[in-house]
Symmetry: C2
Subunit: 126 residues, 2 copies
Amino acid sequence: MIRGDGGKTLRAILDQICNKWTLLVVATLERSRVRFTDLQHQIPGISQRMLTLTLRNLERDGLVSRTVHAEVPPRVEYELTPMGRSLIPPALALAGWAMQHVPAIEASRAAYADRAETSSQAANRT
Amino acid sequence: MIRGDGGKTLRAILDQICNKWTLLVVATLERSRVRFTDLQHQIPGISQRMLTLTLRNLERDGLVSRTVHAEVPPRVEYELTPMGRSLIPPALALAGWAMQHVPAIEASRAAYADRAETSSQAANRT
DNA sequence: CAGCATCCTTGGCGATACTG
DNA sequence: CAGTATCGCCAAGGATGCTG
């Protein structure tokens, strides 16, 4: 059963975890503690805004810990909490599935596009 | 490693699979073939539009098959393909993780809110 | 019943500029 | 360096009405 409570809380949380950026940030943090700027560089398409928001949400949910070093220039490091690390296996399972099925999915999409094109051509015949 | 190719194709597919509605539709179809209207009823918050779009994408990607019965009134049934069924385990792994950690996450959120409130009160002190 | 087309609102997100 | 604040765009998605 995928719905435990009314469904809405679980769905909201799933939605947030499944987020494009969340998974990437978690995956990047898997290896070690990383600074803000390094994260930004290691995750190509992400904007500063989205990185900040994603990190705030992860911190808020207890998946990531934030450490501020009182130095000049300031340094902030992010790290997975134990709970954050526990997300890695299921996340990798899903990512693995996706990676494994990319070719099949693309083939299916191509076939689908062909079908659509063909049928529209048939419809155009007068 | 979560990025296999350039990263963009995989990310697009992951993004679509991870979609709020996609996971719910797949989960609902796990049990058996289901008609359009039944799906709509079994997935509380979904609009007709989103159900249609989600099903089209799943069909297009080869995860769901669509069967039209030539009857009056018309009847259309949706069913997972083998590839669609193969998505179930990793999807359940993630959903299971979420379900398992809902309490911890909510607790963390509450604590985070408290902290924010407290510090803003401290800032307000004159 | 199933589902496409249209309109319209919401808010996600990038870009930019400013602070500690 | 590591953010927060603000603006503006665009796409996601809900509501409604029409067809096969």
